[in-house]
């Protein structure tokens, strides 16, 4: 009986790992590595790669610039309505991406809430590169901002107080104390945010469409090539698997970068001594 239970226990674990690994392995072995490499040089892939890079960089810069102060504000202030604002920040995280896309369309699209204002200013957001950036910003930002709030909240309040009593104003305190101490947490959040942004599909296809060379990101290209050229879809998928692995690995490293918020012995010191 005990032997049978042990067998079932290990069989369950082995099945779990196999289930997780098989789709990844299959992407790389379905066709030869040579074919995968060859497909990567197709213009569809290079165009999608350029669009993905451009929109990701733009979206991530915007998320950092707007998200970091927002997170710091939410982490350090207590006021009525704060919980509501935190919920608003987190909402896109649970919202179906297709819903986020529709929302963007009726807010910023030609016939949307701000559409009139935008077209009067000569700005057309929907179905161009800006639309992809907006979609990524909306859907991926909670991953960064949530983590950033947690990172800022984890800072020992005495360190911030000490900075102030040592003559530093709020701005210097933020850049010299809060930001460096939160950097590990911010990097971890940003890594997840980049990964989510690259994988963005639902909101982008609703709001930006899948126009080759303009709004077609790698993820959208996988979907399009799935019908016409399956090998290309596989090649892009393989590329995205590698990108994901790199980001996950960077995430694990950033956990080690995180400086201890207290003056007690750091994680590094413990690792070395153990």
């Amino acid at each position: 009986m005990r032997g049978l239970l042990a067998f079932l226990f290990y069989a369950a674990i082995a099945s779990a790992f196999a289930f997780l690994a098989l789709p990844i392995v299959a992407i790389f072995v379905h066709v030869s590595p040579g074919t995968l490499l060859h497909q990567l040089s197709s213009p569809i892939v290079t165009d999608a790669l350029v669009v993905t890079l451009k929109t990701s960089v733009a979206a991530q810069i915007a998320i950092l610039i707007f998200g970091t102060p927002t997170a710091y504000f939410l982490a350090t202030r207590r006021f009525p309505g704060r919980a509501l604002l935190v919920t608003l920040v987190e909402l896109p995280f649970v919202l179906p991406p297709a819903v986020a896309g529709i929302g963007l369309l009726v807010a910023f699209g030609k016939l949307g809430l701000l559409g009139g204002t935008f077209s009067w200013l000569g700005i057309n957001v929907a179905f161009n590169t800006t639309a992809v950036v907006f979609a990524v910003m909306l859907v991926a930002s909670p991953l960064y901002v949530r983590q950033a709030i947690a990172a800022f909240e984890a800072i020992d309040g005495d360190l911030v107080a000490a900075s102030r009593t040592l003559g530093a104003g709020p701005v210097r305190t933020f850049f010299r104390v809060a930001l460096p101490l939160a950097s590990g947490g911010l990097a971890a959040g940003e890594a997840l945010c980049i990964a989510r942004g690259i994988g963005e599909f639902g909101a982008t296809i609703m709001f930006a469409g899948s126009l080759k060379g303009r709004t077609q990101t790698l993820t959208l290209a996988v979907y399009q090539e799935f019908d016409s050229n399956f090998d290309t879809a596989l090649a892009i998928s393989a590329l995205l698997v590698l990108v994901s692995v790199v980001i996950l690995f960077a995430l694990k490293m950033s956990a080690l970068w995180q400086p201890s918020p207290s003056t007690s012995r750091s994680r590094f010191a413990r690792l070395r001594s153990s």
Binding site: A162, R164, T165, L166, G167, V177, L181, P259, R265
Partner: protein, 341 residues
Amino acid sequence: MATLAVDFTLPLRSFALELALDVGRTVALVGPSGAGKTSALRAIAGLVRPAGGRIALDGDVWFDASARLCRPPDERRVGLVFQSYALFPHMTVRENIAYAGKERADELLERFRISHLAQARPRVLSGGEQQRVALARALARNPGVLLLDEPLSALDAHTKAEVRAELVELLRDFALPALLVTHDYEDAAALADEVGVLVDGKLRQLATPQELVARPSDPFVASFTGANVLRGRVVGREDGLSRVRLTTGEEVVSTDELGGDVVVVVYPWEISVGRSHADDSALNVIRGAVQSVVTVGNRARVTIGSLTAEITGLSAAKLELEPGVAAYASFKATGTRLIQR
């Protein structure tokens, strides 16, 4: 030397902190945990805003409720040393000090004998070293007043004695008004010119350490400063002495003239201990079983009945004192103080 004039009220969770005192030289606030000691420092530093009152360093007003003035911490010339030191873990020792003032960094590294640690991170320092960095950093800003939160509590007993001596020297050298808070009366008495006893946000008594021991204003102050506090009732007066019957049954006499319900205050170092009834000038003798013998350095605190005496370790050994044996505690009527209850 400048004077920090403090007079404010700060509502805390279960009581309001009311503090009024002038800090000219070194003042210590002592009191049990939760008495509002740390809040007092934070209010002076500008980290919390009092509900009312005024805080000023000579003519420099930091807080004035009536004028709706509350300057932020960076605009108050304070050096606050946190109980946990609050050193920036991502900066070296030198960067920590230079954060508050680049000009004096080298001089202070030298003064605190930590030049060899300039490039070290705070986490690798010992408690004593961390404290020196924290002090150097607080002074690097050229503060007008020094605030110390439990400066000795994070240290082990051995380091503590050493650091206490260093602090005494430092406070003398820098000649700054300083306010320190501690839960340890002995530390306060050793470091400060004046000691304030803070209980539940109220300053019970503010006096020199000698004055506090000699004339505690109430039983709590007396017990906090280390005295035996016994309850009793004056039952008569003879030859200028008050006769007090203790709640434990014994009778003692005191030169203090009081009547009715009183608290009898006797300091441990005014009690001598013997195995037999001593035939000397001490009028008060209490016989009882030794409850405990606690050795503190070269001294022993011997508890007989409800009285604690402090004698040398040598005497304790000579008398073969150990829990259970019968002993006599004797003390003079002049060393027996009475406080009205």
